[in-house]
Amino acid sequence: MTVQPPLIKTAAPHAMSAAPVDPTKITVRDVNVFYGEKQALDGVSIDIPGKAVTAFIGPSGCGKSTFLRCINRMNDTIPGARVEGRIEIDGENVNDKSVDPVILRSKVGMVFQKPNPFPKTIFENVAYGPRIHGLSSSKAELEGIVEASLKKAGLWGEVSDRLHQPGTGLSGGQQQRLVIARAIAVQPEVILMDEPCSALDPIATARIEELIDDLRQQYCIVIVTHSMAQAARVSQRTAFFHMGKLIEHGSTEEIFQNPREPRTQDYITGRTG
């Protein structure tokens, strides 16, 4: 009654999920972040592909938003924040002294949890960036950029007849698409989204998710979300953070079907860790 172990071979792990992933856009090595004495991120290393959606998941305070803010140096604006390690976009260190954070942030756009349109017209919200970065030489060209950006953000059809009304008069979902249009207008390469749908209803959320799926043809998108279902729906790669550490990252299929780490499994299945 003995079992013959050599007979058993299991399938190669995740043989079905070998979806091709775009080459690395953002290379992160050994990143630590401190807020004063407190260490918020501990030795994070990850390669983030271009033209794909990478989702960061993890419990509140796990460091995922902190990490997102490192990518476009938003942590520079927080007193006492200190970032160690290397973050490179296309091989260029974002923390290099020669990098102008303003230029960096036009290359790496950001969308926040609460839509934050400027208290200006819809047109001006989108036109502001291209104008200050000198991306257009004529009024017609600027109008073209505004129209193209609003179209890419899936908002043009809803606002084309009221471009000169205030952006703050739009619904929450429309405002969120407006700030995405504003980010797109300055020709970014990376778009960071920090819980972009947490203040939206399911229909507005679906519109944003559809938009994210469209945008990934052109941009490297990194999204922080508390909704596991959303991470599963919109991303191709998922990274799980816990207590300032990157616990596990891999293809979204792999993470949600068969994670390697027990801590990841506990989190995504709603168990106490």
Binding site: V3, Q4, L7, I8, K9, T10, A11, P13, M228, A229, A232, F256, Q257, N258, P259, P262, Q265, D266, I268, T269, G270, R271, T272, G273
Partner: protein
């Protein structure tokens, strides 16, 4: 493994597994009773087996409903999703085992009217014991989430096939020896085939248990000894 933060979710998953275990017990009893009825030519027991099959049909329907409800309302992920899916798939395999046990019972009713077939009947009984122990083993493996036990059932499926193969030859010899036994022989052949199929369902369940626990399929070919296909 840690428990779910939402306790009612944990309870629903455990409840679903408990339903599968209960259904497994029922299927096991049906197979054993069919075999006892067959061995003893017990008409009353055979009729009872045939009559109880609907309980298994109902159990399968209940498990399927509960699993679909859990998937819809709880949106399980990773191992939780595998638990819900495997409950459904195991229930399906158990329901088929029940159908095969019922078929053995019905043939027992017919066989009871002809002359006893002595040695061949005893060979079938031995095969029956083997198959029934496989089913019991794999259900125990499911109940205790014991991967090694499931793999052992999976690996040793060839023993059932070998039994079936030799029974097939034995029955041919038996029927050739006396053409008046052909009717009974044909029924006995079906009984043996049904047992072989129950063995296959036990193997299927072993694969499902393996997948539920590890998230990976068993893919390698087992050594097949089925000379009937050659």
């Amino acid at each position: 493994m840690n428990g779910h933060i939402v306790k009612s979710f944990e309870e629903e998953l455990n409840q679903l597994a408990a339903e599968v275990v209960r259904m497994g017990g029922l299927a096991e009893a049906q197979v054993n009773d069919a075999l006892t009825a067959f061995a003893r030519r017990d008409v009353a027991l055979a009729q009872a087996v045939a009559g109880k099959d609907e309980k298994l049909d109902a159990a399968e329907a209940d498990i399927e409903r509960a699993a679909i409800r859990l998937i819809a309302l709880r949106q399980p992920m990773a191992n939780d999703l595998r638990r819900a899916m495997s409950a459904m798939k195991i229930a399906m395999n158990l329901e088929r085992c029940g159908d095969l046990a019922k078929n053995i019972a019905k043939r027992t009713l017919i066989l009871a009217e002809s002359e006893p077939a002595g040695p061949v009947t005893r060979s079938i009984e031995r095969m029956g014991k083997l198959v029934s122990s496989r089913l019991k083993e794999v259900l125990d493996a499911y109940t205790g989430s014991e991967i090694d036990r499931a793999v052992a059932v999976w690996t040793r499926d060839t023993e059932v096939d070998e039994h079936y193969d030799s029974l097939f030859r034995e029955l041919l010899t038996y029927m050739m020896g006396d053409p008046r036994t052909i009717t009974a022989g044909a029924h006995l052949l079906f009984v043996a085939k049904n047992l072989e199929r129950i063995g296959d369902h036990a193997t299927n369940i072993a694969e499902i248990v393996h997948y539920e626990i590890t998230g990976q399929e068993i893919v390698s070919e087992r050594p097949k000894m089925d000379s009937l296909t050659q």
